[in-house]
């Protein structure tokens, strides 16, 4: 889905210039009405990424899982500093705070999968 094709320009990239403040990961979506025309995922080139759980580093698979959720139209389970009504909040792939030293958020929780089902089956 995210490979660059002739029809759209979906990418996953570590850009040379970071225009998104203190974010670790960023998902940019171009919309046409309710249709997602193009989704790009960017990883902060200054953030420490690794594959797996390592002290002080972000598991790239967990962060990509999170941003891929956005690319599919799924929102955070809460915004930073707002209350969360999901019982699995800290485990959710769509939690807005990236975790270091953990691969927990590779695994979808009920909020994550239910959001997808709601958008694509019931909306």
């Amino acid at each position: 889905m995210f490979l660059t094709s002739g029809e759209s320009d979906n990418v996953i990239a570590k850009p040379l210039v970071w225009n998104y403040g203190d974010a670790i990961g960023y998902c940019d979506i171009i919309n046409s009405g309710s249709t997602i025309e193009q989704a790009s995922i960017y990883l902060n080139p200054d953030a420490p990424f690794t594959v797996g759980a390592a002290y002080g580093q972000y598991d790239i698979q967990s962060v990509i899982t999170h941003e891929a959720g956005h690319a599919l139209g799924i929102a955070h389970c809460h915004e930073i500093g707002e209350s969360c009504f999901s019982s699995t909040c800290s485990l959710n792939a769509m939690n807005p705070i990236a975790q270091t030293n953990s691969i927990q958020r590779r695994t979808l929780q009920q909020y994550d999968s239910a959001s997808y089902i709601y958008i694509y089956l019931y909306s």
Partner: protein, 181 residues
């Protein structure tokens, strides 16, 4: 014969230019803008880490929003804050401070957060502003309280508190004051 060829050539050029103009107009009306939404995830930084890393830390209310400008494939919007208390910054007597948020509208594109709206005039918050002029999200004041997540100030939480806790502005002000000392 030569004249006929010249006329035929001129006709072909005219048709070509006209077709180009018409197709350009049909492809994208001048008024259309690219519509983007965005979401971002952030590092779990404690209040102490933010106090240390940020160049400006203030408590205040948003007094002005804009202008917005295109930056790469996104938009940055300038935000002015009427300062109630400055904890850290170049001028300890500043009445206003500024930073930028991702999102906004320019002549070419409209960029909005997936979750909700951009910050609005009148919003009260504690603003932790980085060297690049952006700020860490959250720390809004609602009904005289600031909602903290456990990662923001772990030592305030007990095992029965869960992940969220609201504390008064006065108490949070004391926390920030002690952080920047």
């Amino acid at each position: 014969m030569k004249m006929l060829l010249k006329r035929a050539f001129a006709l072909v050029i005219t048709i070509g230019v006209t077709a180009s103009i018409l197709s350009a107009c049909a492809a994208k009306p001048a008024s259309s803008k690219i519509t983007r939404t965005f979401s971002a995830c952030y590092a779990a930084k404690t209040v102490e880490e933010l106090c240390k890393e940020c160049v400006t830390v203030v408590h205040g209310k948003v007094s002005k929003i804009g202008p917005s400008s295109d930056v790469g494939d996104t938009v940055h919007t300038a935000v002015e804050v009427a300062v109630q208390e400055q904890f850290k910054g170049n001028s300890q007597t500043a009445k206003t401070c500024s930073y930028w948020e991702v999102g906004g509208e320019t002549d070419t594109q409209v960029v909005t957060p997936t979750d909700g709206a951009l910050i609005t005039v009148g919003q009260e918050a504690f603003f932790f502003i980085f060297k690049d002029g952006s700020r860490y999200p959250g720390y809004y004041v609602k009904d005289g309280k600031v909602t903290l997540e456990q990662f923001m100030k772990p030592d305030l939480f007990t095992s029965s508190d869960g992940n969220f806790k609201s504390i008064s502005v006065e108490k949070f002000t004391d926390i920030v004051r002690s952080c920047v000392k």
